[in-house]
Every structure is written in structure tokens, then in C-alpha cells.
């Protein structure tokens, strides 16, 4: 929509640096799609943003219930955006349950756009409002700007005479709402129009219905005089360059393809579907043109075992999963560690233990990654800090696995796996090389090949079956140093345990030193984070520094081994605060390794930290 055209009624224009919109509705209302479209359009128009999709574990919880509410939150603006926002400026509530569920985090004075058809007696009852209470009518929303729109009827009117079923009409109502939002934020619908045409290219009638509904929503905003507010958000000051929108799981998948291409190793993914990791399997299964072998195994154990087999055969082998799957893969990871073969294990964490909170986020598998195997069995552990960062972290994990002959665990989590952000993506040239060489000749003067003879990185040779003259056997029984023959000898076992540990420690010589993300050395309070808490901590740190407080933010990608300078760096701060979405895991590692009296801030609610939660704790420490 061209903003220079005169509009048909008067309204206030609010200029804002950033805005948070929450789309909320029933699982069947298409809120994820609506939110994604709004987000992509926003990104396409040059805003920075961060998203937070939040949906129930049930595919279709009973319609209209609180359990069935599906939400999509997007925070966008002209400044750099690091989180999906603590509270929202605009709440789209498609039914009473959505309002009941999500009103609590709407800013005072915020805007509510409702579909009044979702507030009938039945919906109110399902949303557990007391008998006879309708929040749209009882004055309880007086502190907000409420727009009551009968979206269902208006969509029906717009699509009448098209010969559509009630169901198809009902399904288009999210497009009407999207149209209203595009009007409110002065955004062009072109991106979504193209999307609809592509998505429904085989069903022109449905495409037309969606387009009509979208335009009806836009026109509704433009012509009816009920809207008194419109937002104006300037273009962001993101660094110049070419951008795309990316989710963490998507970034993870293409990082694997990139690592395969850069290393020259064929890519093999052994995986078993599990929330929230399945999208990695889905995405990689598309890239057959890159010869990606994606193998949907019969279970989590077969998934990791098939990957071990592929690694043995000379592939870049990966297995992707979440907590319960990690538990099942544990024994096989011990085997891979003993075989000293490259393997990338992706754990897209979710709320645990057991089935826990499958669709909610948590970072509670760090200690499992560190210590969750029997025997002395250290492995490298990395964690991504944002959707786009999943690309770099996973790429780095592949590099470490292949160059150091070891399994590597990557800890992502549901928040960044499903969340998205604009990404100034790299080109192939920008990516660091991954150097792999398969051994084809014996490494021993006497001729007999020594499969466990180590190089300067303490890693052993990688030999592909089919290599003439180097036939040998490997396995899970303890190996004799260098020869790789089975050995039950006492001294040898101790030597091998220490060698395997030293090999992992040695990786610290090859990874970058730890830097301070925001703030200065020796600040009064250092906020130390890992994984998906990055955005919240970053926002808080920037704000507090701007306000004159002496704080710093350090964020870890490498959790094992730690960067070599970490201890020294941390010892310079007066206080170290470690916010984690768990009951205190990194804090144990830090205290254990550096004997530093760090302070924990723990949230275990299946939700990311709000910036306010961290800010309050930091202020408390600063004012001590």
C-alpha cells in the first residue's frame, strides 16, 4: 500500500523505535502462519526483529480452550532487536481463550484486536470466564484500546458468492486480521500476496479467497473509522548488506550442508522425529541435490548408531534430537568417543526431565552433555546463542568433530530453534575451511598400521574401509595405545583415559579466546551467559551501560573446553551473575573449574528470560 495516498479518515501516527505484536488464537486459527507472514514482511521491509512462536504440545487441543492457545510474538523495530520482547504493544486475540491466556503481558494502554465471534457463550465458557462475564463488555479492559471486530462475519461477507465451504471461509479469517495489521503498521501486503499465490498455485480458488480476505482486512483498516492509531517505524540501522530471515533449525540444517561442501565430506543425518528438533530432519531431507543422505531411523539409538556407521565410512555424520533422545543416544555416544570418530550430536533442548515440556524451551541438558555418559568420557560441548548463530555454532561443531576426530555436542534450544531473525548471511568464501584428510598409507615404519597413533592435536587417523593395506578393527573395548588392539592392561587403561581427556582439552588451543560481548573488563557486575539467553542479557547490558552502570556481558559458545583465557577474564569482575533457564548448571562448571563465587539467576518456567527479570537482579547486585 502506498502511504502517500490520502487515507479516508484521521488517526494518530505513533512513531516508535520498536513494537511488539502478539498473535494469539486457537491452534486451528493459523496464528503461526499469520505471525510468520507478518514477520517476513517486516524483515523484508528492512526492520530488525526477533520472534517467539509458542504453541501447545497437542496438535489440536480442544478448540476454544486455554490449552489450545497458540501464540506468535514478534518484536521489530528500527533499532537492533535482541529479544522477542517482555511485554507487547498489540495483542491480536482471536478468541476468549487467547485473551484470557495472553492479556497478562500486554502493556498498560496497549492495543487489543479481537475477533468478537470468538467471544460467544461457548468460547467464554471454554476460556473459563465466570458465567455471564464477557471481558469485551464488562469494562475490565478499560485501560486498553480495544478493537472489537467480527472477523468471522466480515470474512464471510468478503468471500460470499465464491462457492467456498464454510470451513474454507473460516480458514481465511487469519488473512483478514493480517490485512488489518498491515494497515495498522503501514506495511505493504505484497510479500504475502506473492506467498499466497505460490502456496496455493494449484488451488486458485483458495488463493483468491485468501487474497480477498487480506485485502478486505486492509480496506477495513483504511475505511472504517474505528482505528485511531497507526504506527510508524523507521527503517532499522542494521549494518548494510544482504539479509534473509532464518530460524535456528533452518540455520542448523544449512550449516551442515555448508560444512559438508567445505570439507568435501558427504553429509549423513541419522535422526528420529522429536519436538523441537524435527525441522532439522525435515529441512535436510530437502537437499538431495547436495547428496545429503537423511536417514529416518527406527529409533533414537538407531539414529545415532547409523550416524556412527556413516562416520566410520567417511561421512560427515550427524544426529539430531532433543532431551529424551539424548538420553537414549548416550551409550552410542560413548562408543563414538571410544572409536574416536567424528560425530555431531545436535540437542535442541526442551523442558525436561522425561517427556517434560516438549514445546517449551529450557537449557537444562548442559550437565548431561558434560557428564551424562558412563566412564571417563569428556566431549566438546558448544551452544548457539541466537537463530542465526546456530549456523556458525553448528558449522564450528562440524569443523571440530572432523579436525579433532571426536563427537561434538551442540546445545540449541526450542526458543532459538523455532525463533527467527534477519541474518546477513555469509557467502561460501567467507566460511573457514574444514581440513580433513583420510589416511591411506601406514603411519608406522614397520609397516603395521597403528590406528590409535596420534598427531599433534592428539587425534587419531581417519581411515575409510576400502583402503587397501590398512585393514584394522576398532570397537568399544579399551584399546591398546597406538596399536588399537584390545587391551585390559591396567597401565594402558589409565593412559588411554588421560589421552582421550587431553585430546578434548587440546581443542582449547584451536578455538578463539573469550571476548567480552558488551561492556568492559573488571566491571562491577559481569553477566555470564550461554545459549539462548543471549538476547535478553545483551538488551539488559546495553540499557544499563547506557544508563551509566558498570556492567559487562560475556557469552559462551564453547562450554567444553572453555576458552583458555576464561578463568583470568572472569577473575577480574567483582561479581559474576549467571542467568540460566535451569536450576543452575553452568554455574557449577564455573565454580568447579575456577573456584569463583558466581551468583545464579534461574528461571525454569519453559519460557525465556524477560529483560526485566535480569535487569532487576543486576540492579540488586549493583546496589549492594
Amino acid at each position: 500500500m502506498d502511504t502517500t495516498e490520502p487515507t479516508l479518515h484521521k488517526f494518530d501516527v505513533i512513531e516508535a523505535e520498536s513494537v511488539v505484536v502478539r498473535f494469539s488464537g486457537d491452534s486451528g486459527d493459523g496464528m503461526q502462519l499469520t505471525g510468520t507472514q507478518f514477520t517476513d514482511t517486516t524483515a523484508f521491509l528492512g526492520k530488525d526483529l526477533s520472534t517467539f512462536p509458542e504453541f501447545p504440545a497437542e496438535i489440536r487441543a480442544p478448540a476454544g480452550t486455554l490449552a489450545g492457545v497458540s501464540g506468535f510474538q514478534v518484536h521489530f523495530g528500527s533499532k537492533e532487536i535482541f529479544t522477542a520482547g517482555d511485554t507487547y504493544d498489540v495483542l491480536v486475540a482471536m478468541n476468549a481463550a487467547a485473551l484470557g491466556n495472553d492479556l497478562k503481558n500486554l502493556k498498560k494502554g496497549g492495543i487489543i484486536i479481537t475477533n468478537t465471534a470468538g467471544f460467544d457463550q461457548k468460547n467464554l465458557r471454554l476460556a473459563e470466564y465466570p458465567e455471564g462475564v464477557n471481558p469485551l463488555e464488562d469494562g475490565s479492559l478499560a485501560n486498553y484500546q480495544v478493537y472489537k471486530i467480527d472477523v468471522t462475519r466480515l470474512t464471510k461477507d468478503a468471500l460470499k458468492d465464491m462457492g467456498l465451504s464454510n470451513k474454507d471461509i473460516e480458514r481465511s479469517k487469519n488473512m483478514f486480521v493480517l490485512g488489518v495489521l498491515y494497515w495498522m503498521f503501514d506495511q505493504s501486503p505484497d510479500y504475502t500476496l506473492t506467498f499466497i499465490k505460490e502456496k496455493f498455485s494449484k488451488n486458485p480458488l483458495i488463493a483468491e479467497a485468501n487474497i480477498k480476505a487480506l485485502k478486505a482486512g486492509l480496506n477495513y483498516g483504511d475505511t472504517t473509522e474505528i482505528f485511531t492509531t497507526r504506527f510508524k517505524i523507521n527503517h532499522s540501522n542494521l549494518p548494510t548488506g544482504t539479509y534473509r530471515s532464518i530460524t535456528g533449525n533452518h540455520a542448523t540444517a544449512i550449516a551442515l550442508v555448508a560444512a559438508s561442501e567445505k570439507s568435501g565430506l558427504p553429509l549423513f543425518l541419522g535422526s528420529y522425529p522429536i519436538t523441537p528438533a524435527s525441522d532439522v530432519l525435515h529441512e535436510l531431507s530437502k537437499y538431495k541435490e547436495f547428496r545429503v543422505r537423511s536417514f529416518q531411523a527406527e529409533d533414537e539409538i538407531a539414529a545415532v548408531c547409523s550416524a556412527i556407521g556413516a562416520s566410520y565410512g567417511g561421512s560427515l555424520a550427524v544426529t539430531s534430537t532433543s532431551g529424551p533422545g539424548m538420553s537414549l543416544k548416550t551409550e552410542a555416544m560413548g562408543l563414538a568417543l571410544m572409536l574416536e570418530l567424528p560425530l555431531v550430536v545436535l540437542n535442541i533442548q526442551r523442558g525436561g526431565p522425561s517427556t517434560g515440556l516438549p514445546t517449551k524451551t529450557e537449557q537444562s541438558d548442559l550437565l548431561q552433555a558434560m557428564y551424562g555418559r558412563h566412564g571417563e568420557s569428556p566431549l566438546p560441548v558448544l551452544a548457539s546463542n541466537s537463530p542465526a548463530d546456530c549456523f556458525y555454532t553448528v558449522y564450528e561443531a562440524c569443523k571440530i568433530a572432523a579436525e579433532h576426530m571426536t563427537p561434538v555436542i551442540v546445545l540449541n534450544d526450542g526458543y532459538i530453534a523455532n525463533g527467527s531473525e534477519p541474518w546477513r548471511f555469509p557467502t561460501e568464501e567467507d566460511l573457514e575451511p574444514i581440513s580433513v584428510s583420510f589416511t591411506t598409507e601406514t603411519n608406522n615404519k614397520d609397516g603395521v598400521f597403528l590406528p590409535y597413533k596420534r598427531d599433534e592435536k592428539l587425534s587419531r587417523p581417519w581411515v575409510k574401509p576400502g583402503t587397501k593395506g590398512l585393514e584394522h578393527r576398532i570397537g568399544g573395548l579399551e584399546r591398546e595405545n597406538e596399536t588399537g588392539d584390545i587391551s585390559y592392561e591396567a597401565e594402558n587403561h589409565e593412559i588411554m583415559v588421560k589421552l582421550r581427556a587431553a585430546k578434548i582439552e587440546k581443542i582449547a588451543d584451536y578455538i578463539p579466546l573469550q571476548t567480552i560481548d558488551t561492556g568492559k573488563e573488571n566491571a562491577k557486575v559481569c553477566i555470564l551467559g550461554w545459549g539462548s539467553t543471549y538476547g535478553s542479557i545483551k538488551s539488559v547490558s546495553l540499557d544499563l551501560i547506557k544508563e551509566g552502570y558498570d556492567v559487562a556481558h560475556i557469552h559462551l559458545r564453547y562450554l567444553n573446553p572453555f576458552p583458555k583465557n576464561l578463568g583470568e577474564l572472569l577473575s577480574g569482575f567483582e561479581t559474576i551473575l549467571i542467568p540460566e533457564m535451569n536450576n543452575g548448571q553452568l554455574i557449577r562448571l564455573i565454580r568447579d573449574k575456577y573456584l569463583l563465587p558466581a551468583i545464579g539467576l534461574n528461571k525454569i518456567k519453559g519460557l525465556p528470560f524477560t529483560t526485566l527479570e535480569i535487569r532487576e537482579k543486576v540492579l540488586e547486585l549493583l546496589n549492594k
Binding site: 555448508a258 538431495k288 548408531c305 556407521g309 561460501e428 574401509p465 578393527r473 576398532i474 570397537g475
Partner: protein, 347 residues
């Protein structure tokens, strides 16, 4: 018109080439020695380069096999050899992959992987050493032990019914199901070769004697006095004949196998069941013989190839799919994947 077939030049191998510099540590008299011997014997004849053989094993006495064949091999974890082999074969279809497993490894802890590798039909050879006992853990009943079996973990007798491995394999859509014995080297060699030449997952159940914990479990099928009446050696296209003087045959009465005396009037070899490896229904009946002893005590135990059909292998189907997508889409530049379809410029 004559065709020139290029035969790859392969170094002439002998069985010694497959014997590694490693002591074999099975108990004296173990049936495993025989299987090892037959593998060492037939491998040079298969036309496969020594370095292209891969043995994958799990845990158990049988799984020590990996160490005793001088090729590539992995001794892995309990029950998972089949899953690991899937990954090797999917990523390296040109390798000759062999899984050696036992009744505990394949049918108990590794049961899930066992049925799925058969269903997926990777071109892999699975040698299941069935001794109906747990050997390495020193004598507990296994999933193939007979009901009532007295063992260390079942001093009053096992209360479980055993698996019938061939029936399980057929149920799992195996494309090659066979049975042989440690004490019949010639037969085993022929079955191992057939398993190798079968393109698809080949299941070979090998009756293997455990002299320490379950001695003599299968002697009835090889002892001179009982062999002829208790064992039936299947041959493709031939009638089902056994007995001391090949004087017994098997007919089908509906779905019921009936043992007939060929010396008796009216019974002709022409009326007997003719073995057809491709007949899935008959293969199931053959596999079921061992469970019909109560009602049909004269039924022998069938040995040989019970079932063999050609079906596409997983790795071929996967390769074909990749080739199809590449021919349709071409191989794009990595930069295309990094950028995706929709980008925008800032600045």
C-alpha cells in the same frame, strides 16, 4: 553379438589373507570356530577385495567375530550392529557389509534394529548364531531358549515362549531367510555364498553349539542316528524329501504339512511339496515346522533357503532418488542455499 564384460582384476586371495594376527578366544569346542572357518574359506571366492569387507558386531560371544577376520570391522555395542551397519551401507553402498550377531544381541536387546534392517532391505548379510543361551554373561536363558529352560536366571524353568527367528524375519519382510548349522560345513558354505549373492538383507540363522552352557542343543539335527529323520535340506525346485533312505516326503493338505511314507502304496514323490523359495506362504509354513512338533511330531527341521525374493535395496533406492533430484534440479551453488530464495538489501 558378443558382449565384452569387464571383469575387475582382483588380487588372488586365499583364506589365510583373512586370518588376522590375533588369538581366537572362544571356548574349546565352540560352534563359532566352524562359522569362522567357513567364512575364511569362502571369502577368497567371492570376488570382493579384502579391504572392501566390513564386519560389524554387537556384544556377545558371536560378536567377537569382528576381531577374527582380517578386513575392516567394528565391535560395537549390544544389539546395535545392525543399526551401525545401516549407516555404513547407506553411505558406502560399494562395501560388502556383514553383521555377526547372536540370539540375545539380535533378538533381545537389538530386536528393533533387527526387524527394521530386514524391512529396509539393505544389502547386508546377517549371520545370527543361535545357541539358545546367553554365553558371555555365563548362562542365562535367551529369547530363543525353550519354555521351561533351567538356567542361572531361571532355576525353576523359564516361563517364556521362545522366538522363532525365521518366522520373525519373514514377518519383518526379510527378502532372504535361511538356516544352517555349525556342524555341517559344506551346507554352511553354500548358504553363506547364497546370502552373499542375494541382493538385499540376507538373514542366516546358524544353529551353533555352546559346549559350556547349552551343549548338544542341536545335535539331533546332525547326529548320524537322528539327522536323516529330523533334518530336511531344502533345494530349490526339488520335492521335500528326507528320511533314512530318502523315503519320507512332505505334502501339503491345505496349509497343513503332512509327512508321508514314500514306501507306502499310493504315495509318490510327484505329489510332494516342491520347494519354491519365492513362495511367501510356504516359507511361513516351513518356518513354522519347529512349533508344530506337538501335533505333528514327524516334521523335520528345514535347513537351507526358506525364502528369497528380489526387492529394491534401501541404498539403491536412496541413490536413485538423489540422482533423480540432481538430474531435475542440477547441483546448485552453496551460496544459493546460504541466501535462500528471499533476500533484501539494507544500505
Amino acid at each position: 553379438m558378443s558382449e565384452i564384460i569387464e571383469v575387475p582384476v582382483i588380487e588372488k586371495l586365499t583364506s589365510k589373507d583373512f586370518v588376522p594376527n590375533q588369538d581366537v578366544k572362544w571356548c574349546p569346542g565352540c560352534g563359532d570356530y566352524s562359522v569362522l572357518k567357513q567364512v575364511h574359506t569362502i571369502f577368497p571366492e567371492l570376488g570382493v577385495k579384502k579391504e572392501d569387507f566390513v564386519f560389524v558386531c554387537g556384544i556377545g560371544c558371536s560378536s567377537r567375530f569382528t576381531f577374527y577376520v582380517d578386513s575392516y570391522g567394528m565391535h560395537s555395542i549390544h544389539g546395535r550392529a545392525t543399526a551401525i551397519a545401516s549407516g555404513i551401507k547407506a553411505s558406502r553402498p560399494e562395501l560388502s557389509v556383514w553383521v555377526v550377531t547372536g540370539d540375545g544381541d539380535a533378538l533381545s536387546i537389538g530386536g528393533n534394529h533387527f526387524i527394521h534392517i530386514l524391512r529396509k532391505n539393505f544389502d547386508i548379510n546377517i549371520l545370527l548364531f543361535n545357541n539358545q543361551i546367553y554365553g558371555l554373561t555365563k548362562g542365562q536363558y535367551s529369547p530363543t531358549s525353550e519354555t521351561g529352560k533351567i538356567t542361572k536366571s531361571s532355576p525353576y524353568g523359564s516361563v517364556e515362549q521362545p522366538f522363532n527367528p525365521a518366522e520373525l524375519a519373514l514377518g519383518a519382510k526379510a527378502t532372504f531367510v535361511s538356516r544352517t548349522l555349525d556342524r555341517d560345513p559344506k551346507h554352511m558354505q553354500s548358504i553363506l555364498k547364497k546370502a552373499y549373492y542375494h541382493k538385499g538383507a540376507s538373514f542366516v540363522e546358524i544353529y551353533q553349539n555352546c559346549p559350556v552352557f547349552n551343549d548338544g542343543a542341536f545335535f539331533i539335527f546332525t547326529d548320524k542316528e537322528t539327522k536323516k529323520t529330523e533334518s530336511l535340506f531344502l533345494e530349490e525346485g526339488k520335492p521335500l524329501v528326507f528320511g533314512v533312505n530318502n523315503d519320507r516326503g512332505i505334502k501339503l493338505d491345505g496349509f497343513n504339512p503332512v509327512v508321508v511314507d514314500l514306501n507306502e502304496n499310493g504315495n509318490s514323490v510327484n505329489d510332494l511339496w516342491i520347494h519354491d523359495e519365492k513362495d511367501r506362504i510356504k516359507a511361513n509354513i516351513l518356518a513354522g515346522f519347529q512349533d508344530m512338533k506337538d501335533t505333528n511330531p514327524d516334521l523335520p527341521r528345514p535347513f537351507g533357503v526358506l525364502y528369497a525374493v528380489d526387492k529394491p535395496t534401501y541404498e539403491d533406492a536412496m541413490e536413485e532418488q538423489i540422482a533423480r533430484v540432481i538430474s531435475k534440479k542440477g547441483k546448485p551453488a552453496l551460496d544459493k542455499i546460504l541466501s535462500g530464495d528471499k533476500t533484501w538489501v539494507i544500505g
